[in-house]
């Protein structure tokens, strides 16, 4: 007999980002051209949604997707709903603007607490615009619960917790984590499903629940730019610092020449 009296509850935290595959640089001004560029679900968050959906299916639970952003960000909640999420919650308030990873994870943690408790909270590895990878771990810290980052596989799950594989530089760690836990998923973890027609209709039919700073009980000092201990001081476009060398001539002599260069530069084993 299960000791549980309620359904397993799963959350997934996702973000809307510009579609970088579409970004072009204006040749005259050297700035990003945003015209016609779609705002999309952070591609790495799809693996988190899929992991959440599979856990929900395995444990007959329910899945709620959270995102923080402007009204337009509800589109990524629609995507999660179309993939099969049960609920979507948009954290939307002018006061949230300019938040760094600390303020973002604090806001998300507060929303998770208010709508919780959740047994498993999934996030993607990182967002492709900010590339910090700090929000998932930040949520765990603010909620004071354990975290397992860089999950490459959810091996099994029961009502008490999950067994996962965690990818490390030197190998794979096989761990068991008890609920509640924050899990960040890698792209190796699964193959995200396509949304369904029925899911899309459901998403269009239901409107996402919205929470503001006030409803979350957050003060002006906790959110947005005011709540952010870090500042972006300057952004630089990286300049390639590599040396370039063109080796010409017939293939045989060019190959010999290349070999010599590589040897001189210490690129080949002696």
């Amino acid at each position: 007999m299960s000791r549980r009296t309620r359904k397993i509850r799963i959350a997934v935290c996702i973000k809307q980002v510009p579609d970088t595959s579409e970004l072009q640089i204006d040749p005259e001004t050297n700035t990003l051209i945003r015209q016609g560029v779609e705002a999309v679900l952070n591609p790495l968050d799809e693996f988190a949604i899929e992991a959440g959906l599979r856990l929900r299916e395995a444990l007959a639970g329910e899945l709620t997707a959270f995102t923080m952003g402007p009204q337009q960000a509800s589109e990524v909640l629609e995507k999660a709903l179309a993939m099969g999420a049960d609920h979507g919650i948009l954290l939307c308030d002018k006061a949230f603007a300019g938040a760094d990873t600390w303020a973002t994870s604090l806001t998300l943690a507060r929303a998770l607490k208010q709508n919780g408790p959740f047994d498993a909270i999934f996030a993607g590895k990182q967002a492709i615009d900010g590339d910090t990878g700090q929000v998932g771990p930040g949520i765990a810290a603010h909620l004071g619960i354990p975290q397992v980052t860089n999950i490459s596989e959810v091996v099994s799950a029961d009502e008490e917790g999950v067994e996962v594989k965690r990818m490390l530089d030197t190998g794979t760690a096989h761990l068991r984590a008890a609920f509640p836990v924050v899990l960040t998923a890698l792209k190796e973890a699964n193959e995200p499903r396509l949304p369904t027609l029925a899911g899309r209709l459901r998403a269009l039919h239901s409107s996402a629940q919205t929470s503001s700073a006030e409803t979350l009980g957050l003060s002006a000092e906790d959110t947005g730019l005011n709540g952010s201990p870090t500042r972006v001081v300057k952004i630089d476009v990286p300049r390639p610092a590599r040396k370039r060398k063109t080796i010409e001539g017939p293939p045989a002599s060019a190959a010999r020449n290349l070999f010599t260069h590589l040897q001189e530069d210490g690129c080949l084993l002696k």
């Binding site: 579609d19 579409e22 005259e28 999309v40 369904t196 027609l197």
Partner: protein, 539 residues
Amino acid sequence: MSNKLQIQRFSELPPPPVRELNAGEGTKYLTDESRYQGTATALALPRSSEQVASVLAENRRTGTPTTVSAARTGITAGAVPQGGMVLNLEKMDSITGIVKDKDGVFCVQCQAGVTLRDLKKSVRSGTFAEAAHWSRESREHLEEIKQRRLFYPPDPTETTATIGGTVACDASGAHSFAYGATRPYVARIRVVLPDGNYIDLPRGTCFADRNGVFKLVAPDGTEQETKVPRYKQPPTKNAGGYYSGPGMDLIDLFIGSEGTLGVITEVDLRLTEAPEKSCAVVTFWQTEQQAVDFIEAIRRDRDHIGLEAAEFFGPNALSLLRRRREELGETSGVPESLPDHANAANYLDIGTTSADEYASLDAVAAKVHNFNGRAEHCWFAGTRADRERLRLFRHALPETVNDRIGTVQKRFPSLTKLGTDMAVPDEHLRDILRQYRRALDSTGLQYVIFGHIGDNHLHINILPQTPEEYELGKKIYWDFAHTVVNMNGSVAAEHGIGKLKKDFLRIMLGDEGIREIAAVKRVFDPAMLLGRQTLVSAE
């Protein structure tokens, strides 16, 4: 309106940019996606209409056969040379401005070697690399189009194809169901003729008269009376032979002429309003019958739904895709969630608005339900990334077919897949599909049926395993061509005739039709030097 086609002469011609074809370039310039091998000794890579004219004038003088080519994405060998010179337009890749045609429609003006991909990307982003060098009027038009959501609808599968190639074969794609093929988007062309003179031809200015007669007016004012072909265009998609019919716009004679009348060097392409939202749906069915019933029902509601494309995968096609998934996993391009129970599928593209999306998708879901399908099993793609996944899924089928043929070719190098490209009028869809199945199933040949079911344009790919099967497949293909022609259909709905499908063109147009094509060809190219063995035989 006039029936006089004025030929012009360039005041001065630069030296022809010609060189010998290096041995190593053979694989590149001597074949196309059909893999048919040609021969040539010289290569010209012009950058302007004047250079094209100079090459053609010189070749006319020396009697050198010339084959025009560019990206070589065609699959009927139109770009494969038969001796002489390859005239390749890949370096004519400038987008030169934005103009308004006589109806006030914005047109992108480009050289023939611009790729479809570059054109579409530039239009979508409003960024044109050479805009700084455009006229002031063009730059003003650019600012205007940036404020609107315009696009260029023709969508042949190969986006690396060049504009010149797509105009020369009147290319179409899945979206031709809603938007038509390339033809209606061509507002003006410049054609350099085999003698080095040229014609500038805006749409709506020059027509054959009601007897099909028009006059070619040489630069010195002399006139030559000639006639467009009389055969009727089938009431289907069609890319077989010259466009025809009394009263036709003469720009249409060159569109789809497959590089046999002249070299199209510059084109103005009309842009049109893009839908606010684009999405795709894949429906799955237990039987082929359900898929056809669904298509016929959804076609009746096409405007309400905003249906842009309707495609089909038959039972053997889905089995092949399932096996591909098992063998290659995620890299197969076949999503894991392909339902096990499905024996047929339809792919739909839908163009709609935020306000209408629900009604449109709800109508699709209702029809899925009507034919005992389940909306929970239908894939939906609303983002660019998901639509891209479905594009890969669609492409996985022809790729699998090509892989399988590649394996057979290790044993029998001369075997190829046998791919049909035939369309029939709406009322014959069920009948033709039944006839395809009956004939193919009785032979035991491996085959798949897939393609543009919205236009009743299903591709059959036969995968022969032995030379005997290859011969049998060819015979069946031949029989199908006769069946389709009896249904008033087209034997070459989108791939064109090129060098490989001339026999089928004869089935469709008869000896008289072929003679009419040859007669028009001889007026523009009396020495029969351009595009030898394409559409008509040199003799």
